[in-house]
């Protein structure tokens, strides 16, 4: 019975990852991350994702704060976006990275309105990648649990 359950979950996982690649939510860098996970570091991907999410949420909070200022400190903004762009790139969160590029552009142009729009895209893309990665990690854990019961 477990064999079928495991196979079904693996199919689900494969489809989820494929759809994330197809939609550009993830890029090849995510494969690189998975390649670094092995039996000696079985939770590597999950750990990196957790670090990423904590960091991203911290930065998004700061960005929101700076954007709501009367006089926007664009250089502070840029510094934070640069960080988020870097970590997005490092985990393969492709669309989120692009959204960061757009905010940097708007910030360079000192265009507050465009910055606000770009920031909304960042927030949206972040929540998309986070929720899909959470599902992926749940699937992984479920598969591992069932496999360990074999």
């Amino acid at each position: 019975m477990n064999h079928m359950a495991i196979a079904a979950l693996k199919t689900q996982r494969r489809n989820l990852v494929q759809s994330m690649f197809d939609e550009g939510v993830l890029d090849n860098q995510f494969n690189q991350l998975q390649d670094l996970q092995d039996s000696s570091n079985p939770n590597f991907v999950e750990e990196v994702i957790a670090l990423f999410c904590n960091d991203a949420e911290r930065i998004i909070t700061e960005l929101n704060r700076y954007l709501n200022d009367q006089n926007v400190d664009f250089s502070k903004l840029d510094s934070y976006v640069h960080q988020l762009k870097g970590s997005s790139s490092s985990i393969g969160a492709y669309r989120l990275k692009l959204a960061c590029v757009n905010l940097r552009q708007a910030s360079e142009e000192r265009n507050k309105e465009e910055c606000a729009g770009a920031f909304n895209s960042i927030r949206r893309e972040y929540y998309v990648v986070r929720s899909k990665l959470q599902v992926l990690m749940q699937l992984e854990r479920h598969i591992v649990n069932l496999e360990n019961q074999q």
Binding site: D35, L36, V48, L51, H82, S90, I91
Partner: protein
């Protein structure tokens, strides 16, 4: 299937202000069988090496002490370029100015592909400039620099 002969372990000092990138570079280096020390700033890197932020080295200028750096066994320094405070470039310059450490190969990483930046780093002594995100294939490029530095070390080791 491994030859017992030259499983020389190299010690890499990695410098990056990003927590995620530190985790990544550490895993990349360990996967490639390097011994790794990771720090989050240029000044921590200098501190680890026993250098000081100033122009003057705080170590005794007793020439016997010059061999001490080999006890630390740092064989390569890999650093991010964009860091608050001391940039990777500043760190590079500082290392190259040091009589103890100038022969340690330094590799710079950056998320930005800026030719003038790359050229400047290479001209001022960086062995390689890697674009982030760094891949396993990039890390594999490091070994020849380490082997070369080690054989140079042996060449000058006339006792």
């Amino acid at each position: 299937m491994e030859m017992a002969v030259d499983k020389t372990q190299f010690h890499v000092l990695a410098v990056d202000d990003s927590l995620i990138d530190r985790k990544l570079i550490e895993r990349l280096l360990k996967t490639s069988s390097f011994q790794v020390t990771v720090v989050d700033s240029g000044s921590k890197a200098l501190e680890f090496l026993g250098l000081n932020d100033d122009e003057h080295e705080q170590r005794d200028s007793n020439s016997d002490e010059d061999q001490d750096h080999q006890d630390l066994g740092v064989n390569l320094i890999i650093t991010d370029y964009c860091m608050p405070g001391m940039t990777g470039y500043d760190l590079l310059k500082r290392i190259k100015k040091s009589s103890c450490f100038r022969d340690i190969p330094v590799v710079i990483m950056s998320s930005e592909n800026i030719p003038s930046r790359i050229n400047r780093c290479l001209e001022d002594g960086a062995e390689e400039f890697l674009l982030k995100p760094v891949q396993l294939s990039d890390v594999n490029k490091l070994r020849p620099h380490l082997m070369k530095a080690r054989s140079n070390e042996r060449l000058f080791d006339q006792h």
